[in-house]
Protein backbone atom coordinates (compact mmCIF):
# COMPACT_ATOMS: atom_id res chain seq x y z
CA UNK A 1 0.00 0.00 0.00
CA UNK A 2 1.17 3.51 -0.70
CA UNK A 3 0.23 7.15 -1.07
CA UNK A 4 0.89 8.79 -4.42
CA UNK A 5 1.27 12.47 -5.23
CA UNK A 6 1.29 14.17 -8.63
CA UNK A 7 4.02 16.80 -8.68
CA UNK A 8 3.69 19.63 -11.15
CA UNK A 9 6.46 21.50 -12.84
CA UNK A 10 6.93 24.83 -14.55
CA UNK A 11 9.85 25.46 -16.90
CA UNK A 12 11.40 22.17 -15.88
CA UNK A 13 11.31 22.90 -12.13
CA UNK A 14 8.98 21.73 -9.39
CA UNK A 15 6.21 24.14 -8.54
CA UNK A 16 5.66 25.13 -4.91
CA UNK A 17 2.56 22.93 -4.89
CA UNK A 18 4.80 19.88 -5.34
CA UNK A 19 6.42 20.63 -1.97
CA UNK A 20 3.03 21.33 -0.39
CA UNK A 21 1.70 17.99 -1.59
CA UNK A 22 4.83 16.18 -0.44
CA UNK A 23 4.59 17.76 3.02
CA UNK A 24 0.90 16.91 3.18
CA UNK A 25 1.43 13.37 1.92
CA UNK A 26 4.22 12.82 4.45
CA UNK A 27 1.93 13.90 7.29
CA UNK A 28 -0.63 11.28 6.19
CA UNK A 29 1.89 8.52 5.39
CA UNK A 30 3.74 8.66 8.72
CA UNK A 31 0.99 7.54 11.11
CA UNK A 32 -0.04 4.84 8.62
CA UNK A 33 3.54 3.65 8.14
CA UNK A 34 3.18 3.54 4.37
CA UNK A 35 5.38 4.65 1.51
CA UNK A 36 5.00 8.14 0.04
CA UNK A 37 5.45 8.07 -3.71
CA UNK A 38 5.52 10.86 -6.23
CA UNK A 39 5.19 11.01 -10.01
CA UNK A 40 6.86 13.65 -12.11
CA UNK A 41 6.95 14.23 -15.85
CA UNK A 42 9.89 15.55 -17.83
CA UNK A 43 12.02 17.07 -15.13
CA UNK A 44 15.80 16.94 -15.03
CA UNK A 45 16.73 17.89 -11.50
CA UNK A 46 14.59 15.95 -9.05
CA UNK A 47 16.73 16.68 -5.99
CA UNK A 48 14.66 19.58 -4.56
CA UNK A 49 11.91 17.09 -3.74
CA UNK A 50 14.23 15.11 -1.43
CA UNK A 51 13.80 17.70 1.31
CA UNK A 52 10.06 17.12 1.67
CA UNK A 53 9.76 13.50 2.66
CA UNK A 54 9.12 11.58 -0.55
CA UNK A 55 10.30 7.94 -0.33
CA UNK A 56 10.12 7.07 -4.01
CA UNK A 57 9.88 9.21 -7.10
CA UNK A 58 8.73 7.77 -10.40
CA UNK A 59 10.23 9.82 -13.16
CA UNK A 60 8.69 9.73 -16.62
CA UNK A 61 10.58 11.43 -19.41
CA UNK A 62 9.14 11.49 -22.86
CA UNK A 63 9.20 14.31 -25.40
CA UNK A 64 5.63 13.56 -26.46
CA UNK A 65 4.49 14.39 -22.92
CA UNK A 66 6.26 17.73 -23.02
CA UNK A 67 2.93 19.53 -22.92
CA UNK A 68 0.47 18.53 -20.25
CA UNK A 69 -2.30 16.40 -21.74
CA UNK A 70 -4.84 15.31 -19.16
CA UNK A 71 -5.77 11.92 -20.60
CA UNK A 72 -2.16 10.85 -21.25
CA UNK A 73 -1.03 11.97 -17.82
CA UNK A 74 -4.07 10.31 -16.23
CA UNK A 75 -3.31 7.01 -17.97
CA UNK A 76 0.27 7.05 -16.69
CA UNK A 77 -0.78 8.03 -13.18
CA UNK A 78 -3.43 5.29 -13.14
CA UNK A 79 -0.94 2.62 -14.10
CA UNK A 80 1.50 3.69 -11.43
CA UNK A 81 -1.23 3.89 -8.79
CA UNK A 82 -2.32 0.36 -9.63
CA UNK A 83 1.17 -1.12 -9.77
CA UNK A 84 2.04 0.36 -6.38
CA UNK A 85 -1.32 -0.25 -4.74
CA UNK A 86 -1.91 3.42 -3.98
CA UNK A 87 -4.89 3.84 -1.68
CA UNK A 88 -4.74 7.58 -1.79
CA UNK A 89 -3.71 9.81 -4.68
CA UNK A 90 -3.12 13.49 -3.93
CA UNK A 91 -3.21 16.32 -6.47
CA UNK A 92 -3.15 20.10 -6.23
CA UNK A 93 -5.97 22.42 -7.29
CA UNK A 94 -4.19 23.87 -10.30
CA UNK A 95 -6.02 24.11 -13.62
CA UNK A 96 -4.12 21.04 -14.83
CA UNK A 97 -4.74 18.99 -11.69
CA UNK A 98 -8.47 19.74 -11.80
CA UNK A 99 -8.46 18.69 -15.45
CA UNK A 100 -6.71 15.42 -14.74
CA UNK A 101 -8.39 14.30 -11.50
CA UNK A 102 -11.86 13.33 -12.80
CA UNK A 103 -10.27 11.26 -15.60
CA UNK A 104 -8.01 9.52 -13.12
CA UNK A 105 -10.95 8.91 -10.79
CA UNK A 106 -12.90 7.06 -13.46
CA UNK A 107 -9.96 4.95 -14.59
CA UNK A 108 -9.13 3.93 -11.01
CA UNK A 109 -12.81 3.65 -9.96
CA UNK A 110 -11.71 6.01 -7.23
CA UNK A 111 -13.67 8.53 -5.23
CA UNK A 112 -12.57 12.10 -5.76
CA UNK A 113 -12.79 14.93 -3.26
CA UNK A 114 -11.83 18.29 -4.73
CA UNK A 115 -11.11 21.53 -2.81
CA UNK A 116 -9.91 19.73 0.31
CA UNK A 117 -8.61 21.93 3.11
CA UNK A 118 -6.40 20.49 5.82
CA UNK A 119 -5.50 16.93 6.75
CA UNK A 120 -8.14 14.17 6.61
CA UNK A 121 -10.04 13.47 9.83
CA UNK A 122 -9.80 9.77 9.06
CA UNK A 123 -8.37 7.66 6.27
CA UNK A 124 -10.67 4.63 6.28
CA UNK A 125 -13.21 5.74 5.38
CA UNK A 126 -11.70 8.95 4.11
CA UNK A 127 -13.20 11.97 5.87
CA UNK A 128 -12.15 15.37 4.62
CA UNK A 129 -13.19 18.99 4.92
CA UNK A 130 -13.85 20.70 1.59
CA UNK A 131 -14.75 24.22 0.68
CA UNK A 132 -18.04 24.71 -1.16
CA UNK A 133 -20.38 27.48 -2.26
CA UNK A 134 -17.29 29.23 -3.64
CA UNK A 135 -15.64 29.44 -0.23
CA UNK A 136 -18.76 30.68 1.53
CA UNK A 137 -18.94 27.37 3.45
CA UNK A 138 -17.25 24.04 4.11
CA UNK A 139 -18.57 20.51 4.15
CA UNK A 140 -17.39 17.32 5.72
CA UNK A 141 -17.33 14.59 3.08
CA UNK A 142 -16.97 10.86 3.59
CA UNK A 143 -15.50 8.67 0.84
CA UNK A 144 -15.64 4.94 1.36
CA UNK A 145 -13.86 3.52 -1.68
CA UNK A 146 -10.88 1.23 -2.26
CA UNK A 147 -8.97 4.15 -3.76
CA UNK A 148 -9.58 7.84 -3.15
CA UNK A 149 -8.24 11.01 -4.70
CA UNK A 150 -7.73 14.25 -2.81
CA UNK A 151 -7.54 17.59 -4.64
CA UNK A 152 -5.80 19.81 -2.07
CA UNK A 153 -6.78 23.50 -2.16
CA UNK A 154 -3.97 25.82 -3.11
CA UNK A 155 -2.00 27.32 -0.27
CA UNK A 156 -3.99 25.43 2.36
CA UNK A 157 -1.18 23.29 3.79
CA UNK A 158 2.19 24.66 4.88
CA UNK A 159 5.37 23.34 3.33
CA UNK A 160 7.54 21.56 5.89
CA UNK A 161 10.98 20.12 5.35
CA UNK A 162 11.52 16.48 6.19
CA UNK A 163 14.52 15.13 4.26
CA UNK A 164 14.32 11.48 3.23
CA UNK A 165 16.41 9.08 1.26
CA UNK A 166 14.49 9.36 -2.01
CA UNK A 167 14.69 6.50 -4.49
CA UNK A 168 14.33 7.75 -8.06
CA UNK A 169 12.95 5.26 -10.54
CA UNK A 170 12.71 5.83 -14.29
CA UNK A 171 9.60 4.62 -15.98
CA UNK A 172 8.69 4.42 -19.62
CA UNK A 173 5.65 6.43 -20.59
CA UNK A 174 2.53 4.74 -21.85
CA UNK A 175 1.12 6.61 -24.79
CA UNK A 176 -2.31 6.04 -26.25
CA UNK A 177 -3.53 6.78 -29.77
CA UNK A 178 -5.58 9.95 -29.79
CA UNK A 179 -6.68 12.77 -32.06
CA UNK A 180 -6.12 15.20 -29.21
CA UNK A 181 -3.16 17.48 -29.74
CA UNK A 182 -1.82 20.53 -27.93
CA UNK A 183 -0.96 22.96 -30.72
CA UNK A 184 0.37 25.94 -28.84
CA UNK A 185 0.93 27.17 -25.29
CA UNK A 186 1.05 30.91 -24.74
CA UNK A 187 2.18 32.14 -21.35
CA UNK A 188 2.98 35.64 -20.29
CA UNK A 189 6.64 35.33 -19.41
CA UNK A 190 8.03 36.70 -16.21
CA UNK A 191 4.57 37.16 -14.70
CA UNK A 192 3.31 35.37 -11.63
CA UNK A 193 -0.01 33.60 -12.24
CA UNK A 194 -2.89 34.23 -9.83
CA UNK A 195 -2.99 30.54 -8.94
CA UNK A 196 0.67 30.41 -7.95
CA UNK A 197 1.05 33.84 -6.38
CA UNK A 198 1.75 34.46 -2.70
CA UNK A 199 0.52 38.03 -3.12
CA UNK A 200 -2.25 39.28 -5.42
CA UNK A 201 -2.93 42.95 -6.14
CA UNK A 202 -6.43 43.52 -7.47
CA UNK A 203 -8.05 46.60 -9.02
CA UNK A 204 -11.72 47.49 -9.38
CA UNK A 205 -13.83 50.05 -11.14
CA UNK A 206 -12.57 52.66 -8.67
CA UNK A 207 -9.42 52.95 -10.81
CA UNK A 208 -11.54 54.72 -13.42
CA UNK A 209 -9.92 53.30 -16.56
CA UNK A 210 -7.28 50.99 -18.04
CA UNK A 211 -4.85 53.88 -18.40
CA UNK A 212 -4.47 53.92 -14.61
CA UNK A 213 -3.46 50.28 -14.31
CA UNK A 214 0.21 51.17 -14.03
CA UNK A 215 -0.62 51.79 -10.36
CA UNK A 216 -1.71 48.17 -9.90
CA UNK A 217 1.16 46.85 -12.01
CA UNK A 218 3.80 48.91 -10.21
CA UNK A 219 2.54 47.85 -6.81
CA UNK A 220 2.43 44.22 -7.96
CA UNK A 221 5.94 44.27 -9.34
CA UNK A 222 7.26 45.92 -6.17
CA UNK A 223 5.76 43.02 -4.20
CA UNK A 224 6.44 40.24 -6.73
CA UNK A 225 2.67 39.83 -6.89
CA UNK A 226 0.16 38.74 -9.53
CA UNK A 227 -2.40 41.25 -10.82
CA UNK A 228 -6.15 40.65 -10.71
CA UNK A 229 -9.36 42.61 -11.23
CA UNK A 230 -13.08 42.65 -10.49
CA UNK A 231 -15.60 41.32 -12.98
CA UNK A 232 -16.84 44.64 -14.45
CA UNK A 233 -13.23 45.61 -15.10
CA UNK A 234 -12.71 42.54 -17.29
CA UNK A 235 -16.22 42.82 -18.80
CA UNK A 236 -15.42 46.36 -19.96
CA UNK A 237 -12.20 45.11 -21.49
CA UNK A 238 -9.97 47.18 -19.23
CA UNK A 239 -8.13 43.99 -18.30
CA UNK A 240 -7.99 40.45 -19.74
CA UNK A 241 -10.48 37.81 -18.54
CA UNK A 242 -7.67 35.82 -17.06
CA UNK A 243 -7.46 38.47 -14.31
CA UNK A 244 -11.13 38.31 -13.33
CA UNK A 245 -11.38 36.92 -9.81
CA UNK A 246 -14.43 36.06 -7.75
CA UNK A 247 -17.29 33.64 -7.76
CA UNK A 248 -17.54 33.50 -11.55
CA UNK A 249 -13.85 34.12 -12.18
CA UNK A 250 -10.73 32.65 -10.65
CA UNK A 251 -10.52 31.79 -7.00
CA UNK A 252 -7.71 33.42 -5.03
CA UNK A 253 -6.08 31.74 -2.05
CA UNK A 254 -2.99 33.88 -1.64
CA UNK A 255 -1.24 34.86 1.58
CA UNK A 256 -1.94 38.52 0.91
CA UNK A 257 -4.72 40.03 -1.21
CA UNK A 258 -4.72 43.78 -1.77
CA UNK A 259 -7.96 45.19 -3.21
CA UNK A 260 -7.89 48.71 -4.60
CA UNK A 261 -11.08 50.47 -5.68
CA UNK A 262 -13.08 47.27 -5.34
CA UNK A 263 -16.39 47.62 -3.48
CA UNK A 264 -16.47 44.08 -2.10
CA UNK A 265 -19.66 42.69 -3.64
CA UNK A 266 -20.67 39.27 -2.33
CA UNK A 267 -19.64 37.60 -5.61
CA UNK A 268 -16.21 39.17 -5.46
CA UNK A 269 -15.68 38.23 -1.81
CA UNK A 270 -16.80 34.65 -2.45
CA UNK A 271 -13.87 34.02 -4.72
CA UNK A 272 -11.15 35.68 -2.70
CA UNK A 273 -12.02 35.06 0.92
CA UNK A 274 -9.78 32.08 1.37
CA UNK A 275 -6.85 34.47 1.03
CA UNK A 276 -5.19 34.73 4.42
CA UNK A 277 -4.69 38.48 4.81
CA UNK A 278 -6.83 41.05 3.02
CA UNK A 279 -5.95 44.72 2.64
CA UNK A 280 -8.57 47.12 1.27
CA UNK A 281 -7.90 50.58 -0.13
CA UNK A 282 -11.09 52.46 -0.93
CA UNK A 283 -12.19 56.11 -0.72
CA UNK A 284 -15.62 55.17 0.60
CA UNK A 285 -15.52 54.33 4.33
CA UNK A 286 -18.85 52.51 3.86
CA UNK A 287 -17.51 50.14 1.18
CA UNK A 288 -18.66 46.61 2.15
CA UNK A 289 -15.17 45.24 1.56
CA UNK A 290 -13.93 46.78 4.82
CA UNK A 291 -16.10 44.30 6.75
CA UNK A 292 -14.22 41.43 5.14
CA UNK A 293 -10.77 43.01 5.41
CA UNK A 294 -7.95 42.57 7.90
CA UNK A 295 -6.41 45.97 7.21
CA UNK A 296 -8.12 48.95 5.63
CA UNK A 297 -7.13 52.34 4.34
CA UNK A 298 -9.80 54.94 3.55
CA UNK A 299 -8.33 57.11 0.86
CA UNK A 300 -8.03 57.96 -2.78
CA UNK A 301 -6.24 55.19 -4.65
CA UNK A 302 -4.49 57.77 -6.81
CA UNK A 303 -2.78 59.17 -3.70
CA UNK A 304 -2.49 56.10 -1.45
CA UNK A 305 -1.07 53.66 -4.00
CA UNK A 306 1.87 55.80 -5.22
CA UNK A 307 2.70 56.50 -1.59
CA UNK A 308 2.51 52.80 -0.75
CA UNK A 309 4.80 51.92 -3.67
CA UNK A 310 7.32 54.54 -2.58
CA UNK A 311 7.32 53.38 1.04
CA UNK A 312 7.51 49.71 0.03
CA UNK A 313 10.53 50.37 -2.16
CA UNK A 314 12.23 52.09 0.76
CA UNK A 315 11.28 49.20 3.03
CA UNK A 316 12.67 46.61 0.60
CA UNK A 317 15.82 48.64 0.20
CA UNK A 318 16.38 48.72 3.96
CA UNK A 319 15.68 45.02 4.44
Amino acid sequence: MSILIFTETENGKFKKSAFELASYGRAIADPLGVELMAVCFNIQDTSPLESYGVDRLIQISDPSLENFTAHQYAANMAEIAQTHDAKLVILSSSANAKYLAPLLAVSLSAGYASNVVGLPESIEPLRVKRSCFTNKAFNLSTLDNKVNIIGLSNNSYPVSENPKEMVVEQKKAILSETSFKVEKVEKASGQVSIADADIVVSGGRGLKGPENWHLIEDLASTLGAATACSKPVSDMGWRPHSEHVGQTGKPVASNLYIAIGVSGAIQHLAGINSSKVKVVINNDPEAPFFKAADYGVVGDAFEVVPELIKKLKAFKYNE
Binding site: A113, N145, S179, L256
Partner: protein
Amino acid sequence: MKILVCVSHVPDTTSKINFVDDDTAFDKNGVQFIINPNDEFGLTRAIWFQQKQGAEVTVITVGDPSCEPTLRKCLAIGADRAFRIDLSPTDGFQVAQQLSAHCKDENYDLIIAGRESIDYNGAMVPGMLSALLGYSFLTNCMALEIEGRSVKASREIDGGIESVSCDLPLVVGAQKGLVEEKDLIIPNMRGIMQARQKSLTVVPAVDSSIQSSISKFEKPAPKGAVKMVDANQIDQLIDLLHNEAKVI
Protein backbone atom coordinates in the same frame (compact mmCIF):
# COMPACT_ATOMS: atom_id res chain seq x y z
CA MET B 1 -24.30 18.13 -35.14
CA LYS B 2 -26.07 16.96 -32.00
CA ILE B 3 -25.17 18.97 -28.91
CA LEU B 4 -26.06 18.26 -25.30
CA VAL B 5 -25.72 21.02 -22.72
CA CYS B 6 -25.67 19.82 -19.11
CA VAL B 7 -27.05 22.44 -16.77
CA SER B 8 -27.06 22.69 -13.05
CA HIS B 9 -29.68 24.55 -11.03
CA VAL B 10 -27.79 26.54 -8.39
CA PRO B 11 -28.42 29.23 -5.78
CA ASP B 12 -28.15 32.76 -7.12
CA THR B 13 -24.74 34.32 -6.50
CA THR B 14 -26.16 36.80 -3.95
CA SER B 15 -27.75 34.03 -1.85
CA LYS B 16 -27.12 33.88 1.84
CA ILE B 17 -25.61 30.49 2.45
CA ASN B 18 -27.21 28.86 5.51
CA PHE B 19 -27.80 25.31 6.63
CA VAL B 20 -30.66 23.47 8.33
CA ASP B 21 -31.37 20.09 9.94
CA ASP B 22 -28.45 20.32 12.31
CA ASP B 23 -26.18 21.65 9.53
CA THR B 24 -26.71 18.65 7.29
CA ALA B 25 -28.64 20.36 4.48
CA PHE B 26 -28.52 23.60 2.51
CA ASP B 27 -31.29 26.03 3.50
CA LYS B 28 -33.25 26.72 0.31
CA ASN B 29 -35.61 29.05 2.12
CA GLY B 30 -35.91 32.33 0.25
CA VAL B 31 -33.13 31.35 -2.15
CA GLN B 32 -33.46 32.14 -5.85
CA PHE B 33 -32.11 29.50 -8.20
CA ILE B 34 -30.40 30.23 -11.51
CA ILE B 35 -28.64 28.41 -14.34
CA ASN B 36 -25.09 27.80 -13.18
CA PRO B 37 -23.14 30.70 -14.77
CA ASN B 38 -20.51 28.48 -16.41
CA ASP B 39 -23.28 26.38 -17.96
CA GLU B 40 -24.96 29.49 -19.33
CA PHE B 41 -21.81 30.47 -21.24
CA GLY B 42 -21.80 26.95 -22.68
CA LEU B 43 -25.49 27.09 -23.59
CA THR B 44 -25.01 30.37 -25.44
CA ARG B 45 -22.13 28.87 -27.46
CA ALA B 46 -24.38 25.90 -28.29
CA ILE B 47 -27.16 28.21 -29.50
CA TRP B 48 -24.65 29.87 -31.82
CA PHE B 49 -23.83 26.46 -33.31
CA GLN B 50 -27.56 25.97 -33.75
CA GLN B 51 -28.04 29.36 -35.44
CA LYS B 52 -24.95 29.27 -37.66
CA GLN B 53 -24.29 25.57 -38.27
CA GLY B 54 -27.72 24.02 -37.87
CA ALA B 55 -26.88 22.08 -34.70
CA GLU B 56 -29.61 20.53 -32.59
CA VAL B 57 -29.35 21.59 -28.94
CA THR B 58 -30.65 19.47 -26.08
CA VAL B 59 -30.40 20.51 -22.43
CA ILE B 60 -30.39 18.12 -19.52
CA THR B 61 -30.25 18.26 -15.76
CA VAL B 62 -30.16 15.63 -13.05
CA GLY B 63 -32.48 16.86 -10.33
CA ASP B 64 -35.89 16.95 -8.73
CA PRO B 65 -38.97 18.74 -10.19
CA SER B 66 -37.87 22.06 -8.64
CA CYS B 67 -35.19 22.28 -11.38
CA GLU B 68 -37.74 22.50 -14.19
CA PRO B 69 -37.97 26.32 -14.32
CA THR B 70 -34.24 26.35 -15.10
CA LEU B 71 -34.79 23.91 -17.98
CA ARG B 72 -37.71 26.02 -19.26
CA LYS B 73 -35.44 29.04 -19.19
CA CYS B 74 -32.88 27.14 -21.31
CA LEU B 75 -35.67 26.32 -23.78
CA ALA B 76 -36.68 29.99 -23.84
CA ILE B 77 -33.06 30.92 -24.56
CA GLY B 78 -33.29 28.64 -27.60
CA ALA B 79 -32.57 24.99 -26.76
CA ASP B 80 -34.68 22.59 -28.84
CA ARG B 81 -35.63 20.06 -26.17
CA ALA B 82 -34.99 19.25 -22.55
CA PHE B 83 -34.57 16.22 -20.31
CA ARG B 84 -34.70 15.96 -16.57
CA ILE B 85 -33.32 12.82 -15.01
CA ASP B 86 -35.42 12.37 -11.92
CA LEU B 87 -32.93 12.05 -9.09
CA SER B 88 -31.58 14.30 -6.34
CA PRO B 89 -27.93 13.45 -6.76
CA THR B 90 -25.52 12.86 -3.90
CA ASP B 91 -22.22 13.41 -5.69
CA GLY B 92 -20.71 14.36 -9.02
CA PHE B 93 -19.93 10.78 -9.97
CA GLN B 94 -23.59 9.90 -9.65
CA VAL B 95 -24.51 12.79 -11.96
CA ALA B 96 -21.89 11.68 -14.48
CA GLN B 97 -23.22 8.10 -14.48
CA GLN B 98 -26.79 9.28 -15.04
CA LEU B 99 -25.74 11.56 -17.88
CA SER B 100 -23.59 8.88 -19.44
CA ALA B 101 -26.51 6.42 -19.49
CA HIS B 102 -28.61 9.02 -21.34
CA CYS B 103 -25.80 9.85 -23.77
CA LYS B 104 -25.15 6.23 -24.72
CA ASP B 105 -28.58 6.11 -26.37
CA GLU B 106 -28.31 9.51 -28.01
CA ASN B 107 -24.82 9.63 -29.55
CA TYR B 108 -24.18 13.33 -29.09
CA ASP B 109 -21.27 14.81 -31.05
CA LEU B 110 -20.57 17.51 -28.53
CA ILE B 111 -21.40 17.69 -24.83
CA ILE B 112 -20.99 20.98 -23.00
CA ALA B 113 -21.10 21.33 -19.23
CA GLY B 114 -19.89 24.13 -16.97
CA ARG B 115 -16.29 23.68 -15.84
CA GLU B 116 -17.67 23.69 -12.29
CA SER B 117 -20.86 24.60 -10.49
CA ILE B 118 -20.96 27.48 -8.04
CA ASP B 119 -22.62 25.42 -5.30
CA TYR B 120 -20.40 22.39 -4.75
CA ASN B 121 -17.58 23.55 -7.05
CA GLY B 122 -16.70 19.91 -7.61
CA ALA B 123 -15.37 20.29 -11.17
CA MET B 124 -16.05 16.58 -11.63
CA VAL B 125 -19.00 16.04 -13.93
CA PRO B 126 -17.62 16.96 -17.38
CA GLY B 127 -14.35 15.05 -16.94
CA MET B 128 -15.99 11.98 -15.44
CA LEU B 129 -18.65 11.98 -18.16
CA SER B 130 -15.99 12.11 -20.88
CA ALA B 131 -14.13 9.21 -19.29
CA LEU B 132 -17.30 7.11 -18.95
CA LEU B 133 -18.16 7.73 -22.62
CA GLY B 134 -14.61 7.52 -23.98
CA TYR B 135 -14.92 11.01 -25.51
CA SER B 136 -12.12 13.58 -25.74
CA PHE B 137 -12.24 16.20 -23.01
CA LEU B 138 -11.26 19.83 -22.72
CA THR B 139 -12.05 21.96 -19.68
CA ASN B 140 -11.72 25.69 -18.86
CA CYS B 141 -12.67 26.12 -22.51
CA MET B 142 -12.27 29.68 -23.83
CA ALA B 143 -12.90 29.18 -27.55
CA LEU B 144 -14.44 26.41 -29.60
CA GLU B 145 -14.76 26.08 -33.39
CA ILE B 146 -15.96 22.98 -35.20
CA GLU B 147 -15.78 22.16 -38.92
CA GLY B 148 -17.06 18.72 -39.86
CA ARG B 149 -15.56 16.45 -37.22
CA SER B 150 -12.53 18.57 -36.43
CA VAL B 151 -12.34 20.76 -33.40
CA LYS B 152 -10.08 23.72 -32.69
CA ALA B 153 -10.35 24.97 -29.16
CA SER B 154 -8.45 26.73 -26.43
CA ARG B 155 -8.15 26.27 -22.70
CA GLU B 156 -7.26 28.74 -20.02
CA ILE B 157 -4.24 27.50 -18.07
CA ASP B 158 -2.58 29.02 -15.00
CA GLY B 159 -1.01 32.15 -16.45
CA GLY B 160 -1.88 31.65 -20.10
CA ILE B 161 -3.83 29.99 -22.88
CA GLU B 162 -3.34 26.67 -24.65
CA SER B 163 -4.67 25.87 -28.12
CA VAL B 164 -5.64 22.31 -28.93
CA SER B 165 -7.12 20.31 -31.77
CA CYS B 166 -9.02 17.04 -31.72
CA ASP B 167 -11.90 15.21 -33.37
CA LEU B 168 -15.48 14.88 -32.21
CA PRO B 169 -16.98 13.48 -30.06
CA LEU B 170 -15.90 15.82 -27.32
CA VAL B 171 -16.91 16.91 -23.83
CA VAL B 172 -16.19 20.53 -22.97
CA GLY B 173 -16.05 22.28 -19.59
CA ALA B 174 -17.30 25.80 -20.34
CA GLN B 175 -16.46 29.09 -18.69
CA LYS B 176 -16.56 32.81 -19.37
CA GLY B 177 -14.60 33.62 -22.50
CA LEU B 178 -16.27 30.86 -24.52
CA VAL B 179 -18.79 33.64 -25.03
CA GLU B 180 -18.71 37.04 -23.37
CA GLU B 181 -21.03 38.24 -20.64
CA LYS B 182 -22.71 40.63 -23.10
CA ASP B 183 -23.46 37.71 -25.44
CA LEU B 184 -25.66 35.89 -22.92
CA ILE B 185 -29.17 35.57 -24.32
CA ILE B 186 -32.00 37.07 -22.29
CA PRO B 187 -35.18 35.21 -23.21
CA ASN B 188 -37.75 37.39 -24.97
CA MET B 189 -41.53 36.97 -24.89
CA ARG B 190 -41.54 34.90 -28.07
CA GLY B 191 -38.87 32.57 -26.69
CA ILE B 192 -40.80 32.16 -23.46
CA MET B 193 -44.03 31.34 -25.34
CA GLN B 194 -42.23 28.87 -27.63
CA ALA B 195 -40.57 27.20 -24.66
CA ARG B 196 -44.00 26.14 -23.38
CA GLN B 197 -44.53 24.08 -26.55
CA LYS B 198 -41.11 22.42 -26.53
CA SER B 199 -40.63 18.97 -25.05
CA LEU B 200 -39.38 18.55 -21.52
CA THR B 201 -39.09 14.86 -20.86
CA VAL B 202 -38.70 13.40 -17.40
CA VAL B 203 -36.72 10.19 -17.41
CA PRO B 204 -36.30 7.82 -14.49
CA ALA B 205 -32.82 7.47 -13.01
CA VAL B 206 -30.73 4.39 -13.76
CA ASP B 207 -28.91 2.43 -11.07
CA SER B 208 -25.79 4.30 -10.06
CA SER B 209 -23.24 4.25 -7.29
CA ILE B 210 -22.11 6.94 -4.89
CA GLN B 211 -18.51 7.64 -4.01
CA SER B 212 -18.83 10.50 -1.55
CA SER B 213 -21.44 11.88 0.78
CA ILE B 214 -21.67 15.01 2.87
CA SER B 215 -22.31 14.58 6.56
CA LYS B 216 -22.08 18.15 7.76
CA PHE B 217 -21.75 21.76 6.60
CA GLU B 218 -20.07 24.59 8.41
CA LYS B 219 -19.49 28.26 7.83
CA PRO B 220 -16.11 29.96 8.03
CA ALA B 221 -15.18 31.22 11.50
CA PRO B 222 -16.20 34.86 11.97
CA LYS B 223 -13.46 37.28 11.13
CA GLY B 224 -11.79 39.61 13.59
CA ALA B 225 -12.46 43.32 13.19
CA VAL B 226 -10.64 45.24 10.47
CA LYS B 227 -7.68 47.38 11.55
CA MET B 228 -7.86 50.79 9.93
CA VAL B 229 -4.70 52.63 8.98
CA ASP B 230 -4.65 56.37 8.34
CA ALA B 231 -4.00 57.20 4.69
CA ASN B 232 -1.26 59.60 5.79
CA GLN B 233 0.56 56.87 7.74
CA ILE B 234 1.21 54.23 5.14
CA ASP B 235 4.41 53.23 6.96
CA GLN B 236 2.16 51.79 9.61
CA LEU B 237 0.48 49.52 7.06
CA ILE B 238 3.86 48.19 5.92
CA ASP B 239 4.85 47.65 9.52
CA LEU B 240 1.64 45.69 10.24
CA LEU B 241 2.00 43.55 7.12
CA HIS B 242 5.62 42.81 7.94
CA ASN B 243 5.59 42.38 11.71
CA GLU B 244 2.05 41.38 12.57
CA ALA B 245 0.63 39.56 9.54
CA LYS B 246 4.11 38.47 8.37
CA VAL B 247 3.09 38.44 4.72
CA ILE B 248 5.72 40.80 3.29
